[in-house]
């Protein structure tokens, strides 16, 4: 971890240097029109009713806090700089005690004839897509897996983000000079494999390693009630293939707490489509993507066993192990909808109903992407209750079931503002049943309850 941290710091410094040049260049006429400090501090806790896979190190509960301030500075021309550092302290897992620069970018924009240009330079977060059960086409940022297994929280990604907005739509280009590794819980943490992932021992397909220049582009536009987005990504995968290499890892699989895995990031290419049709109280949603380049050991157990044997005997190295993996090419999709009943039974409350179907061409050989679950043939149904009261009380419940396996999960969230600046978040994430054939079977005992007491300023 420390080596990576130093490298990332260097990367960030380089970006800041460029940003500073812009800022100093503009300094002559730069006049701060506005600045603002806002953010949140949150006291949090998690409780796991069942003993984990590694009871020697894992505990049943954890407490901690989050600090996430946001500094915003704007000049008279509307140019701005935003900095959002993030820190979490976790009592049970020293790895989950982590910090990140979620955002640190300079924003510039201006006219380009009839259209408009915008440049964001620095670390930022980007969201693509429309679905709720998973964010299939969303790929620019690495997820902060330590924060929550739902994959909603992201690490800051260094980028040059250029947007061109015109009558015919919005065209965006992303230059992504540095790859953020996925982060995995440490020994004291829950929601992990039995073994650990050694992020210091990371391997990349590209010789440039984490400095491989990745590129992404997106076109989006609204045609009346239809919003569509077409996207492409070429570069380092955000999802690691976990490789078991002797001697740190034995062929005992993900259930052995003594195994240490090596993350491997392949070079991939992804094309994505996301669309939403908004008609009255209906939202119809569709996301699809085609991806090539990821490595998958499913179905290659024999080849892998041979390569592992050779490596253990000193006759092969890491490349031979990865060479035994299958190079994937697959299509995945999410299709679904959302309907909202407004002001039900004469009250002020709204009730939203959601349903989505997740498909992955790889079927049972699918690997988890941005959540620990594989979503290969999975139905998602959910409901969202907004009470529209002064406290903005909201309840969300979601149920996911695998149509071809016995895996079912359920999540319930409750949100309510207590006072003007204090709010409460309660959550339960329950694994109702888990099919032994699923990769995430190892996490079957990791149902949890969570609370946040949050102060916003």
């Amino acid at each position: 971890m420390p080596r990576r941290t130093v490298r990332y710091l260097l990367a960030r410094s380089a970006i800041w240097l460029v940003a500073l040049v812009f800022a100093v260049d503009a300094h002559a006429e730069m006049e701060f029109a506005a600045w603002e400090l806002s953010g949140r501090v949150s006291l949090e806790g998690r409780y796991f009713p069942r003993t984990g896979i590694d009871p020697r190190h894992q505990s049943s509960h954890t407490t901690g806090f989050v600090v996430e301030p946001k500094l915003y500075v704007e000049d008279v021309e509307g140019r701005s700089a935003t900095v959002v550092p993030f820190f979490r302290y976790d009592s049970a897992d020293s790895v989950r005690t982590h910090w990140d620069l979620r955002e640190a970018y300079v924003l510039l924009f201006g006219e380009l004839g009839e259209s408009e240009w915008e440049v964001r330079l620095g670390a930022d977060r980007v969201f693509w897509g429309v679905a709720e059960s998973q964010h299939l086409v969303d790929i620019v940022n690495q997820i902060d897996f330590l924060e929550h297994p739902n994959g909603e929280v992201k690490l800051g990604q260094p980028m040059v983000h250029v947007t061109w907005t015109a009558d015919w739509g919005v065209l965006e280009f992303f230059g992504l000079p540095y790859h953020r590794q996925r982060v995995y819980p440490g020994q004291g943490g829950r929601l992990r494999f039995a073994g650990l992932v050694d992020t210091d021992r990371v391997e990349y397909e590209s010789g440039a390693e984490e400095w491989h220049p990745d590129f992404a582009a997106r076109y989006s536009h609204s045609f009346g009630p239809l919003d569509i987005g077409l996207s492409a990504f070429n570069g380092t995968s955000r999802e690691a293939s976990l490789v078991c290499m002797p001697p740190a890892c034995k062929l005992t699989g993900v259930n052995d707490p003594s195994n240490v895995w090596i993350p491997y990031y392949a070079q991939i290419r992804q094309f994505g489509l996301d669309a939403q049709l908004t008609l009255d109280a209906w939202l119809f949603k569709f996301e699809a993507m085609h991806r090539s380049g990821d490595r998958n050991a499913f179905g290659r157990e024999r080849e892998y066993g041979e390569a592992y044997g050779a490596a253990a005997a000193g006759a092969g190295g890491f490349d031979d192990l990865v060479g035994a993996y299958r190079k994937e090419e697959y299509v995945a999709a999410v299709v679904g909808g959302e309907y909202t009943f407004y002001s039900v039974f004469g009250s002020t409350a709204d009730v939203g109903l959601l349903a989505e179907w997740n498909y992955d061409e790889r079927g049972r050989q699918a690997l988890p992407r941005r959540q620990p679950m594989t979503l290969d043939n999975d139905f998602f149904v959910g409901t969202h209750l907004s009470f529209n009261d002064v406290q903005s009380t909201e309840i969300t419940a979601a149920f996911v079931t695998d149509a071809s396996r016995a895996t079912r999960t359920m999540g319930v969230e409750f949100d309510r503002r207590l006072f003007d600046q204090w709010s409460l978040h309660l959550e339960s994430s329950m694994i109702l049943s888990m099919d032994p054939a699923d990769l995430q079977y190892v996490g079957r005992r990791d149902s949890f309850f969570e609370f946040h007491l949050e102060y916003s300023f």
Binding site: S38, T165, V170, S222, A281, Y342, S343, N388, D420
Partner: protein, 275 residues
């Protein structure tokens, strides 16, 4: 050109002679003589709307104080940016400052005269822009007694009208008109009764009747100020819910007209930039 509006004191077909003479003297077009209450109501609405045309764009701040029956208060603060669109509904951007847990959340609306409005919501925590349904016109706006439809400027085409009477309102004389939503499903009200002064066609009071025709809410508007020597904007609005006893005070401040706002600030890209 400022128009003088004179409407019959009593509705109906019978006009007393002095009234006819007065109308003729003011040079009103002859068809007004036989105007029905519906036509008069439409005329007032059309003229009031026309008076508001040409403002270009404006920005302002809104502060809300929400009060429940027991008098407990809760505050809301937001900034509003509005762009006039020739031949269609306005484009508007609302950015929330308080409560702090929703700070930075922004709502972009492209209003339309005929078809449904387009709306996008920006969620800063996820940096996500979400297209949302605009059919929720009658829902509460941020827990206040204002609904979305109470806060959006009434498009003339979305109502039918009926002129009721003239009556004094403060130092002024007001026309009292009813308006009925054309699309019954899109509104939470069966009708609204609107008080507008005859001098400047400013709205001073609105009574809202729910679908069962019960008097649900009353909006009182005051502290009008004129901008660019033409456009009147309210400084204070008070909405009382007669059913629940709750009320909301809405204060407008820092009105600025014809700023540097452009259409591009009301795009999805501009929405992500709003803070």
């Amino acid at each position: 050109m400022k128009m003088i509006h004179v409407y019959p004191v009593r509705s109906g077909l019978v006009f007393v002679a002095p009234c006819l003479v007065l109308l003729a003297w003011l040079g009103m077009p002859s068809h007004v003589y036989s105007a029905t209450p519906e036509e008069i109501g439409l005329k007032i609405a059309t003229e009031a709307s026309a008076l508001g045309d040409g403002f270009g764009n404006f920005t302002a701040r809104q502060a809300m104080v929400l009060r429940n029956k027991q008098g407990q208060e809760s505050r809301r603060q937001l900034r509003v940016k509005v762009l006039e669109v020739a031949g269609d509904g306005d484009k508007s951007l609302m950015v929330f400052d308080e409560p702090r847990d929703v700070k930075g959340t922004a709502l972009l609306t492209h209003a339309h005269k005929q078809e449904a409005d387009d709306q996008w919501l920006y969620l800063p925590a996820l940096k996500r822009v979400k297209r949302i349904s605009s059919s929720n016109k009658s829902g509460s706006f941020m827990g206040s007694e204002f609904s979305y439809e109470d806060l959006s400027p009434p498009e003339v085409e979305k109502f039918t009208y009926r002129y009721l009477r003239d009556e004094p309102c403060g130092d002024l004389t007001c026309t009292v008109c009813e308006r009925f939503p054309v699309d019954k499903k899109a509104s939470g009200y069966s009708r609204q009764v609107v008080w507008q002064d005859k001098d400047e066609l400013r709205t001073w009071k609105v009574e809202y009747y729910d679908r069962k025709d019960a008097h649900l809410k009353t909006l009182s508007i005051g502290k009008y100020k004129q901008y660019l020597d033409k456009y009147w904007r309210a400084g204070e609005m008070n909405m009382v819910n007669h059913l629940t006893g709750k009320s909301t005070d809405l204060t407008w401040a820092d009105y600025q007209f014809r700023t540097k706002l452009k259409a591009r600030d009301f795009s999805k890209t501009g929405l992500k930039r709003a803070r």
